[in-house]
Symmetry: C2
Subunit: 527 residues, 2 copies
């Protein structure tokens, strides 16, 4: 049952008087539970509990943290239909998506459990001593990764499960040994509370210290700011808008002790289609991209918002066909009236720029929070000189740019802001001519895709989900995949440390039997 309260560690708490409700966008009605925003005292209590819990949690074995993560997965599954229903009620997303996203959330939790159980993930490096070295003996030095401290995670609007309460940020931070305080998303606070209850149950069942997890409600900026400014908070994870992420980044940078903020923010995910690809399979590409643009009502960070082509009669036919195919797909519900409002506003802001023409748009009246899909087009010259067209339109919209030639297309790529992804659709005959485009694209994005779509972010070790600013606030880290854990840890060196006092992963006898780097070589041998 939903209480509308905050979890301050294991305790349900609602000392405040400010409350908000979630919204059912499909029914266009408010849901009926009041969620009580945390007071500043509750924020302080949650962070202080996390700080206390950190003293114990940071030293808990990998095996036990893995059990905790797996228990969270189990408890989320145990919420069963109640969770799926709440998710759909609060997001307007279909049941299939809810179940799929729950699966992704579970997979992420179990992946991190598998990663951390044996402490090999800590990048353990041992440089043995050399007492005969001249002019001075070389000391024994051993390095491992240790957690930073309490992490604040801001839940994302567009992934109520996989990038929210027990999503990738929370899973990776808990896996690393950092306690987590989630700032619940006000659009799906009920889903958040259910998942939080699962985490708390799992923490209690597996004997984790009180404060290892808290879930805090807040709809404005007060609660989030208080969390980021709290001296005991040591890092922040965020998925959302550029405005929101940058505000948190600025707050964190202006603290007496600045802390890292990993914010995964906006992206228009440029897609380059070569003339050869259009010549060979315009129809197929239009079909696939109609699906990608409208997938999840265009509410993915990796939604293809910009398609770069070289102008020709074939290209114009392709664009027309893409418009028809995209708008032939039934309009779907958006996450919230505010998201719909922003979609209409941002789409208008791009569409009203000089030179932008509507290729195809759903004209008939749609249900209140449903999104009328639209494809627009513009010339390369107009796009290049007008940065207002480069802004993200979150929703089912894509702008097709008709460049006059490859040089202009490359210049457009060079002038884009940082992006999560870049995609190239090309033929084998193009391979020898793609250098300029690939080089330009690589310098602007975090991941490049060949003959595919940017939507669908695989959870795997080789994934990079992030990229140059403003795709993220630090391109050196990823938000997706097991390496997301690196955001929350720091390397730590032991010099001439007694073997008995070393953590197991660095001991001579290698009691964990893990792969380590000893004097430059990967090995699972003892010393």
């Amino acid at each position: 049952m939903i209480t509308g309260k905050n979890y301050i560690g294991n305790k349900l708490s609602a000392s405040g008087t400010v409350s908000h409700r979630t919204f059912n966008p499909k029914l266009n009605t408010e849901n009926d539970c009041d969620f009580y925003e945390a007071t500043l005292e509750e924020v302080d209590e949650a962070v202080s509990l996390a700080d206390q819990a950190f003293k114990e949690y940071r030293n808990i074995s990998g095996v036990k943290r893995a059990k905790f993560l797996n228990a969270i997965a189990d408890e989320i599954l145990a919420l069963d239909d109640e969770l799926i229903k709440m998710y759909c009620t609060e997001s307007g997303l279909p049941e299939g998506r809810a179940i799929g996203e729950r699966g992704r959330t579970i997979f992420q939790l179990r992946s991190f459990a598998e990663l951390v159980f044996d402490d090999a993930w800590r990048e353990n490096i041992i440089d043995t001593e050399n007492i005969n070295r001249e002019p001075a003996p070389k000391p024994d030095i051993r390095k491992t990764n240790i957690p930073l401290g309490p992490v604040v995670v801001f839940a994302a609007s567009n992934f109520p499960l996989a990038y929210s309460t027990a999503g990738g940020d929370t899973a990776s931070a808990l896996a690393s040994g950092c306690p987590v305080i989630v700032k619940s998303h006000s659009m799906h606070a009920g889903t958040g509370e259910l998942v939080a209850s699962a985490i708390i149950k799992a923490a209690q069942k597996t004997g984790m210290p009180n404060g290892v997890f808290s879930n805090i409600a807040g709809s404005g900026r007060v609660v989030g700011s208080a969390l980021v400014k709290h001296p005991k908070v040591k890092a922040v994870g965020f998925t959302g808008s550029i405005t929101g992420g940058r505000a948190l980044f600025n707050l964190a940078a202006s603290r007496e002790e600045p802390i890292p903020v990993f914010a995964e923010m906006g992206s228009i995910n440029p897609v380059i289609i070569t003339p050869a690809a259009i010549a060979k399979r315009a129809n197929e590409i239009a079909g696939i991209y109609a699906g990608s643009i409208t997938m999840g009502t265009g509410q993915f960070c990796t939604s293809p918002g910009l398609i770069l082509t070289i102008d020709s009669p074939e290209t114009r036919n392709f664009i027309k066909d893409l418009g028809q195919k995209t708008t032939a797909i039934d309009p779907q519900c958006m996450l919230h009236p505010n998201i719909k409002k922003d979609f209409i506003k941002n789409r208008a802001s791009v569409s009203e720029q000089s030179g932008v023409e509507v290729v195809a748009a759903i004209q008939e009246k749609v249900e209140p929070n449903y999104a009328p899909t639209q494809i627009s087009a513009v010339s390369g010259a107009d796009f290049l000189t007008n940065p207002k067209m480069h802004q993200e339109v979150f929703g089912p919209f894509s702008l097709v740019v008709k460049s006059k030639d490859e040089a202009e297309l490359v210049e457009i790529i060079n002038n884009l802001e940082g992006q999560l992804t870049g995609t190239i659709l090309a033929e084998k005959s193009d391979y020898s001519k793609l250098d300029n485009i690939i080089n330009a694209l690589q310098n602007r994005v975090g991941r490049i895709i060949f003959n595919g779509v940017p939507t669908g972010v695989e959870v795997c070790s080789a994934m990079l989900h992030g990229g140059p600013y403003p795709a993220s606030t630090d391109s050196r880290f990823t938000a997706v995949g097991i390496h997301a854990i690196k955001r929350w840890v720091r390397p730590f060196s032991y010099q001439s440390w007694p073997n008995d006092l070393l953590p197991d992963q660095l001991k001579n006898e290698n009691p964990l039997g893990i792969l380590r780097v000893i004097d430059g070589k990967h090995t699972d041998k003892k010393i």
Copy 2:
């Protein structure tokens, strides 16, 4: 021959009118070359050249970048006596130190050459596809590290070679594929110009693009600020004061596109000595620490500025002995009159705090820029409540704290700011009782040392030189050792990318024959 000009890429340039001179602290006289500070146009020219050079340099093979780094080392050695003399003239440091530091600089350059020649350092990860996976096929994804772009390096006052023009920051950035613009240190601009000439020669001999390296003079904040704010600069490395490092960090964070700043700043490097260690080897410890405190005239980042003990008659004897042994060492020259002035001012600021007593101090008059060594002491209670005593005094000074018990000592550690190092001097009989101290210390520092001294930072793979703020601005990276390269690179993913178009380190046939992680396993096999 020293020209006093900037290297804007390969070109010597001095368009400006503002100039400064370096100073010979031993002779207490100004040196006679005028160094012309770069104009804003010269700054822009250097950065634009670096940005141009990046397009080529980022794709140059590891073998060629390794040749470039080794050539820099060769050219620095070829400067021979001219460099050593200039170093001594501008720093007041002895010839032995100059030769030692040159050796370290060469070792660092060659270490990075060895690291990057085969591209294994890029942490190459391959997750192969699975077309039969349900509900959707798993795509092939491959990840490697790529360089960020032009890096600005601020030379350090206290390491004219190893952390300046061709020091650890420059070597690691060039190794990664980033062009470097060095903001030369005004205290050793001649040494800087000589080393810069070696880098330029090496770049030309090995065919590197013009702009891969520039050396810019500036004595105030104008030039440094212009560099950090330049939109084409993508990262910053700095070694120096908290005030300086924080100012650059703030500038970088307030850019339209924020960029990472790795600043390695102040530290007082707490040393904990247990009663058992004092009982057993007070005399030996006093001797070793007298050497560590006065080493390099106390002008090391890792100089032991704070010694934490538990009060007792034996401890008081030890402190007295430490004072005598430390002040018995002849006073030595500091780097510059300004460094000496700050030393005297900062030492006074700690010494005048209530409860601080002078244990021993060199009283006789010293040469103008020589530092009169001093050891002071204070009670744990006084230290705990007065953060003014926690500030770094850069120079031969150490404050010994007499705690009333272990609990107070642990509380002191918990209340310290972030530190580069922490050291424990203890006996085997202490091992079972060290948990609280080690846990507290680990949470405040980047490296812990057992029964040694913090001075002497080994250049090796397992070294962490950095730590929680203000030891550094980002505790997740190191300034020393080959992993210093991670500051300048970002992971980058290729999805479903044609084998022919992949970089060699990710190709199926593993043409470089390197160790990679394929589907979770370390292997040098082909696919």
